[in-house]
């Protein structure tokens, strides 16, 4: 039976230690359930050993658990082969790996990479840099004032010299859910592979890499109830031989002489050095936690809560939402009349409400929408209507505090 969303807050120890905390910064990082914390702790306390190294029980067990997480993650993403899953330190590293280890060698001056104007810096700067290194250039899919991709333009933007399309599943600023299957179908018609940044969606929304037919998918464990410093790159088998490692060292090799090195196959060739084993095993525990929920129900819960928040916010009459996408997740960005986002966030912080203020690592997006900064509220399964009500109440007293 799926865990009840209603009592889920009690599974997250931070809310026991800080009962008054209203945590609405889930797009930055989510809180961790007891099961994940215990798994990481237990590893160091009872199971600590390096993986793929020792011929003793501890190491064998650590290796078994570490490798087992590939299967768990592949199930979460709905992809057939557990070996599609390479462990990285996060979305950023996964995207850099594809940019430098896969795309770079294919780029010649005049080639291009297509991204959208709503990308997080992590899905922008790696491509910008690889373009700078090769003489290729970025092409940007524009968005509407509502905050939705101009889908019709993709067909003309992706051309014969496009080497990759990199697109976010859910915007970390606007909350827009992009039609990934449609975008991938459009790109594949022109034989262009697609990388999906699933940092905001993995573990929060049902994902099917198989249905998407995605070539690369990246996400971080820490945004989906797992430990920080661990992430995933999921790649289609046909690309495995073409992805070169960026880090060289121990592990990841078949044979080494002073003259040359034969590397292991994907994903192991990408995991040189001692792995972040507790991070990966903790990610496994996070996936177990997510699988114990009904993910569709969880996604509906945060979406409904987001609608509730947006309605209440607009009824204040002093707030303006950034964008109004039809299909959105559980993220909303807004501005308060005459009060800077930082001052709003500081005020809310005094009421124990954690929100983010600034450009949310999406500076070009905000600039294109003519906004220097916003306040962002991002919800997760443990958030409640009470959290939203407290926030709205605080925003009402903010008005009194500032507008003398």
């Amino acid at each position: 039976m799926a865990l009840s969303i209603k009592n889920i807050k009690s599974l997250f120890p931070i809310f026991t230690h800080r009962p008054d905390l209203v945590y609405l910064d889930n797009a930055s990082t989510s809180q961790k359930p007891q099961s994940v914390i215990r798994t990481v702790n237990d590893f160091y306390e009872r199971e600590n050993a390096s993986v793929h190294r020792g011929l003793y029980e501890l190491s064998t067990e650590a290796t078994r658990k570490y490798e087992g997480v590939r299967k768990k993650v592949s199930q979460l993403l709905d992809t057939d082969n557990p070996l599609s899953i390479a462990f990285t330190k996060g979305t950023t590293e996964s995207i850099n790996l594809v940019a430098q280890g896969f795309v770079r060698k294919q780029l010649s001056p005049g080639d291009n990479i297509v991204i959208s104007s709503m990308e997080h810096h992590a899905n922008l700067i790696p491509w910008q840099q690889v373009c700078k290194q090769t003489g290729a250039f970025l092409k940007i899919i524009p968005i509407t004032a509502q905050g939705e991709l101009r889908l019709k333009e993709i067909e003309s933007i992706v051309d014969s010299r496009t080497k990759l399309v990199a697109i976010t599943h859910i915007s970390n600023v606007l909350g827009t859910i992009n039609p990934i299957s449609e975008i991938i179908a459009l790109a594949h018609k022109k034989q262009v592979p697609v990388m999906v940044d699933a940092a905001q969606s993995a573990g929060h929304h049902p994902i099917s890499v198989k249905e998407w037919d995605a070539d690369f998918v990246a996400f971080s464990a820490h945004k989906m109830f797992g430990p920080m410093g661990t992430g995933v790159l999921c790649s289609k088998p046909e690309f495995w031989p073409q992805i070169d490692p960026l880090l060289f060292g121990g592990g990841a090799i078949k044979n080494v002489t002073f003259e040359k090195t034969d590397f292991q196959d994907y994903p192991y060739k990408l995991e040189a050095g001692t792995a972040h084993v507790p991070g990966v095993i903790g990610l496994g525990a996070a996936v177990d936690f997510i699988q114990s929920l009904d993910l569709q129900e969880a996604s509906n819960h945060t979406h409904d809560l987001c609608i509730y928040f947006k309605q209440k916010l607009l009824s204040l009459g002093t707030a303006e939402l950034l964008g109004s996408p039809t299909n959105f997740g559980s993220i909303a960005s807004f501005q308060m009349e005459k009060i800077h986002p930082h001052d709003v966030a500081s005020f809310l912080a005094q009421a124990n409400i954690a929100v983010r203020a600034g450009h949310h690592c999406a500076q070009p997006l905000l600039e294109s929408m003519g906004v220097p900064a916003t306040v962002r509220v991002s919800l997760a399964i443990y958030n409640t209507r009470e959290d939203v009500d407290k926030t709205i109440e605080a925003l009402m007293s903010l008005k009194k505090f500032w507008l003398r």
Partner: protein, 148 residues
Amino acid sequence: MNELNKLYSDVIKTHNETPFHFEKVEGASTILKANNPICGDRFELYIGYHDDKISLLHFFGYGCAVSKASTSVLAKSLEGKSLSDALTICKDFIAFIRGEKQVSQEDFKAFSGVHDFPERYECATLAWAEMKTFLEAKLKSQNQNEVT
């Protein structure tokens, strides 16, 4: 809410609402940019000189109440000062915000609430740090010119 009242003292609120010399100036000798890429705050400082003194200091831009008020206080405090005096004042203000020094100026003391909000140090010192770097470079190049 008490701490917040301390952070947003009346002086800060007043400077935020009616900032000193808050306008663009055409033809300023120096236009200094004070940007905080993390939060999107952006100010331009318009500086004019006369006889080694800062004869004009206006600013314009966008920022939170703390950064806007602190830039306003900067403009008010440094206009009319010599470059070296202005540099000393910049250093004093930054040291004060970091809790390393006491100050006597009432306008400066209004920022003491920031001590309880380390995440807002950047806001309070944004324009001051730019100004300090700029003045140090300008005084250094002047000294070099005198030597040669």
